[in-house]
Structures are given as structure tokens and as C-alpha cells.
């Protein structure tokens, strides 16, 4: 299983950045289309991986739902405060549009932290079983690609060269890999904590899908775009459901 943990933590960090840089080379028009398609698809996979995969698995391991749902609530609050803190850090002097003004270093630190937690999620999920690991990893890769593309845009906007932005972004994403390997061994020793980490991961997936991605999706109001979004959200749900349910996972 360690092989898969390492493999998917590389895919979820460096792999996502490579995909993001390909997007960047494709030109703005295609890039925008691909990104908005990926955002819809990611919304479906995040929700399904959390609700049908991580949460039921965590509840089954604990044998009782209350502890798991308390941790989920705590996790949602934690991510709420984290986002508040990030907004406050770069907005305290003037009212501002957060993403347009986030300075380069903050983007990189945020990215490093985000990828560090991705590593923990991947390790906890594979320690549960292969299907859950696969579902969590695919979800992470898919939502990392638009995220990294956005980070690229900010770094370039800050005046970095393409090469420098690429190198810095790769560097800030590598924490996924040591985080995944260390958590794999730590969580393997303290197996009883795995459901808690699954619940926190589920909280982060729900928070990202509902508080970050959904309002972004609702900004587009053209009929064609709405239909495209719905199809892609559904596709994300179906892909995850296939991995989780039909992929031989039995309860």
C-alpha cells in the first residue's frame, strides 16, 4: 500500500502542476474552458468521496456516528477559521477581492500547507482500504489542477518569469510527499486515529465543494454553462460512485 501512497502523492502534487502548466501553454481560451469544466467535475467528486466514501467508512470503523460527526463539525469550523485568517492576513488594511490581491509568498505558503494536508488525507485513505485511497487521491488530483493553475496565474501576475513560477510552485507542492509517507507510518502505528483523520478529510472536501467551488459555479448564469455544469457535477458523482460501490467495496 505504501507504493500507492507515494505514487498518488506524487500525482497529486507534481502531477497536478505538470497538468496545470500544460493548461497554461494551451492558451487562455481553452484553459478557461478546461478549468471551469474541472471545477464542476471536482465538485461532484469531492461531495461523493466525502459522503459515500470517507464518512461511512469512518463511522463503520468507530461503530457509532456521533464521534465522527463531531469531528466533521470541528473540521468545518477549522477550515472556516483558516479561510478567515487567510483573508484577514492580506486584507486587513483595505477592503479587497481576496484572490486578486493575494501576494506571491502567501500563495506559496498556502499552497505548501494545503498540499501537506493532501498528503495526510492520501495516507489515511489508503490505510483504510484501496478503494477509499483511490477515491480520495483522484479527488485531490482533480481539484488540485485548477487550484495550481490559479496559483500560476497569481505568481505570473506578480511579475515572476514562467520558469521561476513553475519551479516555486513545484517546490511548494512537494510537502505532499513527505507528509504522506510520514503519516502513513504514524497512522499505521496509531490505527485508532484513522477514522478521525478520515472525518477531518471529509470536512475539508465538503467545505471546499460547498463554500469555495459552488459559489464560483453559481456565478455563471448562461443556460449552456448551467447544463454543462450539471452534467459534469453528475459525472463526478457517477465516477466516484463507480469507484466506491461497484469497485468491489462491500458492506
Amino acid at each position: 500500500m505504501l507504493f500507492w501512497v507515494i505514487f498518488f502523492s506524487i500525482m497529486g502534487s507534481i502531477g497536478a502542476i505538470l497538468a496545470a502548466s500544460v493548461f497554461f501553454i494551451l492558451g487562455e481560451n481553452i484553459q478557461k474552458k478546461l478549468i471551469s469544466a474541472l471545477l464542476s467535475f471536482a465538485t461532484g467528486t469531492l461531495l461523493t468521496a466525502a459522503l459515500i466514501g470517507l464518512i461511512p467508512e469512518a463511522i463503520e470503523m468507530v461503530g457509532e456516528p456521533h464521534l465522527v460527526t463531531i469531528v466533521i463539525l470541528g473540521g468545518i469550523l477549522f477550515f472556516f477559521f483558516l479561510e478567515k485568517f487567510l483573508i484577514w492576513r492580506n486584507c486587513q488594511n483595505n477592503a479587497c477581492e481576496v484572490h486578486a490581491h493575494a501576494p506571491g509568498p502567501l500563495v506559496l505558503i498556502g499552497d505548501a500547507f494545503h498540499n501537506f494536508t493532501d498528503g495526510i488525507v492520501i495516507a489515511a485513505a489508503f490505510l483504510t482500504n484501496f478503494q477509499i485511497g483511490l477515491a480520495a487521491s483522484i479527488t485531490i488530483i482533480i481539484h488540485e489542477i485548477p487550484q495550481e493553475t490559479g496559483d500560476f496565474g497569481i505568481l505570473l501576475h506578480d511579475g515572476m518569469t514562467l520558469k521561476k513560477a513553475f519551479l516555486y510552485n513545484i517546490l511548494s507542492s512537494t510537502p505532499t510527499i513527505p507528509a504522506a509517507i510520514i503519516s502513513y507510518f504514524v497512522l499505521d502505528t496509531f490505527r485508532a486515529t484513522v477514522p478521525i483523520f478520515l472525518a477531518i478529510s471529509a470536512a475539508s472536501f465538503l467545505y471546499i465543494a460547498l463554500s469555495d467551488l459552488t459559489p464560483q459555479l453559481h456565478q455563471r448564469t448562461e443556460t449552456k454553462e448551467i447544463i454543462k455544469q450539471l452534467i459534469l457535477v453528475l459525472l463526478g458523482i457517477v465516477v466516484m460512485a463507480i469507484i466506491l460501490i461497484i469497485g468491489g467495496h462491500n458492506h
Binding site: 463531531i70 460547498l210 463554500s211
Partner: protein, 251 residues
């Protein structure tokens, strides 16, 4: 139990509108402050009522059908996502627009009637499952209905409805909570096996409102003062729900 269902469906509809009307008549400055405070408080109560009460109770009463309950929860999220899309599309498909600014009076009233109808079902399902779940759900409904109705009344008055007319129309559309609650009470009492799943869908509406609608609104306020106030009020909302669960465990 039908007594409580009727009492709280009256408080959650007509009660909330009367309080909202009162808010509107005390002046813009206090009104904005009170509405902002209530939005934070409601975020806390909605999240806590769903994650600490409705979801674990639904899982337990379903006989441990975790994946089934969570599938209904996911279906609920998807339903509310599509519903919000439809509302946006109905008044935006000809041009890009800020939703609340162009919503017509009629759509506000129809949307409100539908929303309150759903509130009625939620209140009935919650009380049928457990008295204390019923109380937490009712408090959450009232807390998030007040700022909602303040917004609706303000839009109606903006659309040249007189104060009196706006109040009467809004009350009429809000009344749908009461028949919805009474009818669902008797229907669900007969089909009691479905109650955990109805509660799961209700929980998804709470989580959807808290994360996709209220959280982005809260994050728009960036001053340090606002952040502290928001955090305190969210915690107060959660604490209120926790107190009710403690009260339950003492009986």
C-alpha cells in the same frame, strides 16, 4: 407532539416575518448589525443541528444504513444545487446579473413559499424522530428565517410594494410552513421508515445553506472586529445546540 409541530411552524414562519418586520422599522444601522449577527448565529446553529443532531440520529434510526442515509444526503445537496441554479437561471438567462438585484417580487414570493413549505416538512420530520432534534431544528429554522425574511421584505419594498403590502404578501407566502408541517406530520407518521431519509435530506439543506449561502457572505466582511464577532456568534450558535443535547442527556 403535533402541538410542538404546529407551534414551531407558526414561529418559524409568521413569527420570523413579524420579527423581520420589526427589524426593518428600527432603522438601517441597527438592522444591518442585527442581520449580520443573526447570519453568523444561524451558520452555527444550522451546522450543529445537522452534524450533531440530524445526521447521527438519522443513521441510528435507519438501523445503521450509513451509506444509504449519506446517499440521500448527497442527493439532497444535488437537489438544492439544481434548485439554486434554476432560481438563478429564471431571472438571469437573458443577461449576466447580480441575482438579488434583479429578482422580481413574484419570484421572491414563490421562492419564499417553497422554502417555507420545505421548512414545514423538516420541522415535522424532526419532531417525529425525537423531541430534542425537533427543538434544535426549529431554532435553526427561526434563526435563519429572520435574516432571510428581512432580505425578502427589503427587496419587495424596493420593487415599490408598500410596507403594508410587502408585509401581507410575505406573510401569505410564509404561511405555507404550517399546512406543510401538519400534512407531513400525518403522512410521515404512517410512513415512519422513510423519516431517517427525509431527515438526511433536511440535514443536507441545512449544510447547503450554511456553507454555500451564508459562509461566502460572512467571508465578504474582512475587518478584524467583524471576524471576532462572527466567530463568537457561530460558536454561540453551536453552543445553543449543544446545550439542548446536554438537556436531552440529562432527562
Amino acid at each position: 407532539m403535533i402541538f410542538w409541530v404546529i407551534l414551531f411552524s407558526i414561529l418559524g414562519s409568521v413569527g420570523a416575518i413579524i420579527i423581520a418586520f420589526f427589524f426593518l422599522s428600527i432603522g438601517k444601522k441597527y438592522q444591518h448589525k442585527l442581520v449580520n449577527c443573526l447570519v453568523s448565529y444561524a451558520t452555527g446553529t444550522l451546522l450543529a443541528a445537522a452534524s450533531l443532531g440530524m445526521i447521527p440520529t438519522a443513521i441510528q434510526k435507519s438501523g445503521g444504513q450509513v451509506q444509504m442515509v449519506m446517499s440521500f444526503f448527497l442527493g439532497g445537496i444535488l437537489f438544492f444545487f439544481i434548485l439554486e441554479k434554476l432560481v438563478i437561471w429564471r431571472h438571469c438567462h437573458d443577461e449576466t446579473c447580480e441575482v438579488t438585484e434583479t429578482a422580481t417580487g413574484q419570484i421572491i414570493l414563490i421562492g419564499d413559499a417553497f422554502h417555507n413549505f420545505v421548512d414545514g416538512i423538516v420541522i415535522a420530520a424532526a419532531f417525529l424522530l425525537d423531541f430534542f432534534i425537533g427543538i434544535t431544528v426549529s431554532i435553526s429554522v427561526i434563526a435563519h428565517e429572520i435574516p432571510q425574511e428581512v432580505g425578502d421584505l427589503a427587496i419587495l419594498m424596493d420593487k415599490n410594494y408598500s410596507k403594508k403590502k410587502a408585509f401581507i404578501y410575505n406573510t401569505l407566502s410564509g404561511l405555507s410552513t404550517i399546512p406543510a408541517a401538519i400534512i407531513s406530520y400525518f403522512v410521515l407518521d404512517l410512513a415512519s421508515l422513510s423519516i431517517p431519509y427525509v431527515l438526511a435530506i433536511s440535514a443536507s439543506s441545512f449544510i447547503y445553506i450554511a456553507l454555500s449561502d451564508l459562509t461566502p457572505e460572512l467571508h465578504k466582511k474582512v475587518g478584524f472586529k467583524y471576524i471576532i464577532r462572527q466567530v463568537l456568534l457561530i460558536v454561540a450558535g453551536i453552543f445553543t445546540m449543544v446545550l439542548i443535547f446536554v438537556w436531552k442527556s440529562l432527562i
